[in-house]
Amino acid sequence: MQDFEYAAPASIEEAITLLAEPGANARILAGGTDILVQLREGLRQTALVVDIKKIPELGAIAVAADGSLRLGAAVPCHRIWSDARLVAGYPAVTDSARIIGGWQIQGRASLGGNLCNSSPAADSIPALIVEKATCEIAGPRGRRQVPAVEFCTAPGKNVLERGEFVVALSFPPPEARAGSRYIRFIPRNEMDIAVAGSGVWLRLDAAGKTVEAARIALAAVAPTPVAATEAAEWLAGKPASEESWKKAGELARRVARPITDLRGPKEYRVHLVGVLVARALATAAERARGGDRDPMVPADGRPSGVR
C-alpha cells in the first residue's frame, strides 16, 4: 500500500483546514470500504487520509421538531438499518443499507461514503434520490446544500470542490400513506454489485387505490444514478395496480443508457429496469398501505436480518 499520513480531526472546521490546505493531497476516510481498496490497488493516490469518524456531528442521527431527519454522513450502514426511525420513515434507504456488501462491510460503510464514491452502481443513491435527501456540504466557503439527485456528475465524480466534504444527509418529514423501496438485481444473492437497481417512492390516496405522487431512480444503467422523472410523473393519478407498475417500468427504461461490461450486457440491463421498477413499486405500495414496514422481511422474501 502507498505511504500516507493520517489525521482524525475532532471538528468540521479542523477537517476543512486539513483538506483545503494549499498543496494538500488529502482524501476523506469514513467507512473506508471503497477508499482503502482504491488506495491499495493504486487506483487513487493520496498523501493524507482524513478520518472524519471522530467528528460527533458526522456520527449523529437526529430528528427535528418538524419530523425531518438528519443523518451524519459517516454513520455506518448497520446503524442505519437498525434505526427504527429510518426503518419506518425511509425504508428505501434502510433497504439499500442492508445489502451494501455483507455484514462486515455494513459495519463500516456509510451513505456519505457511498455517495462520494459516486459509483453509477451505488445502491444507496437511488434510495436517497427518491427519499428527497439533501446533501449538506461543508467547505472553506461555508456550507451549502445539494439535492442527492444532483450530487453525482460522472462515474467517480461529483459536485464536491476542493476542501469540501459531505457532513450530513437530511430527509424531509415522512409523509402519510407513503412507501418506498430499493431493490437491485445481482447474480448472487448478496455480496455483489448491482447489474441494475431501482429506488422508488410513492404516496397513495386515502383509499390506498390511487397513486397521488411517485419518484423513481435507477442505479447501474447510466454514468450516474438517474431519476426516471417521466415514469414517476406518469404514475400520478394512476390506479395502484400491477398494470401501472409495469407501465411505469417500461417508461423508466427510457432513461436507461447502460454499457455492456462484466456485470451484464446493455439490452439485459435495460430490460431489468422494467422488471425492477415494477417490483419495487409493488412493495412500496404495500408499505404505503402499512404492510411490510420492516426492511428485514421485505415482500420479495429476502431473508430476515438481525433485530
Binding site: M1, D3, Y6, L29, G32, Q104, G107, M191
Partner: protein, 166 residues
C-alpha cells in the same frame, strides 16, 4: 515515510499497545505486529471475510480497517472466543459437526457467527445464510456450517436457561 503512530486499544479483553504506519491495516498489525495470526488474509479487499474481527461488537473486515483507527476500541478476534480453557459453543459445534475442512475460513465464520448469536441465539436458516454471506467458504458447501451455528445457538439458549434457573 509517514512516522509510526502509537495506538492503545483492547484486544480480546486485554489492554494492547502497538506502533504502526498509517497505511497498515488492522489485519496486518494483528498478524505481523501482535502475532495474532488467527485472522486470515484471503482477498485483502473485503470480499471473503476470512479476516473478520469484532470492532466494538460489530463484525468488520480487518483488512479494510486502518490500525490507527482502532485507538480506544474494543476488538475481539478468533483467539478471544474461547475462555478459561473452554471452547465457545460455536467452536465446539464446528468441531462436532465437522463444519470445517481446510479451516482457513473458519476463524472468520466463527467471529461473524458469534456476532449473529449475540444478537439472536435462535436465527432461522435463511437468517444465518444471509448474515454469513460476507464469509466465503470453498470447501464445505456451507451445509455443516449452518447446522453448527444452529446447534451452537441451541447450546447458548440452554446455558442462558440454566443461568436463569440458578
Amino acid at each position: 515515510m509517514a512516522k509510526k503512530r502509537h495506538v492503545t486499544t483492547t484486544i480480546n479483553g486485554e489492554a494492547a499497545e502497538f506502533l504502526c504506519e498509517p497505511r497498515q491495516s488492522l489485519l496486518e498489525v494483528l498478524r505481523d505486529t501482535l502475532g495474532l495470526t488467527g485472522s486470515k488474509e484471503g482477498c485483502n479487499n473485503g470480499n471473503c471475510g476470512a479476516c473478520t474481527v469484532l470492532l466494538d461488537g460489530v463484525p468488520v473486515d480487518s483488512c479494510l480497517v486502518l490500525a490507527v483507527e482502532v485507538e480506544g476500541a474494543q476488538i475481539i478476534t478468533v483467539e478471544g472466543l474461547a475462555s478459561e480453557g473452554h471452547l465457545h459453543p460455536l467452536q465446539q459445534c464446528f468441531l462436532e459437526g465437522a463444519a470445517l475442512q481446510c479451516g482457513i475460513c473458519t476463524p472468520g465464520f466463527l467471529v461473524t457467527a458469534k456476532a449473529l448469536l449475540d444478537h439472536d441465539p435462535a436465527p432461522s436458516e435463511r437468517q444465518i445464510r444471509f448474515e454469513l454471506a460476507g464469509n466465503i467458504c470453498r470447501c464445505t458447501g456451507y451445509d455443516k456450517i449452518v447446522r453448527a451455528v444452529q446447534a451452537a445457538g441451541r447450546k447458548l439458549q440452554e446455558h442462558q436457561r440454566e443461568q436463569q434457573r440458578t
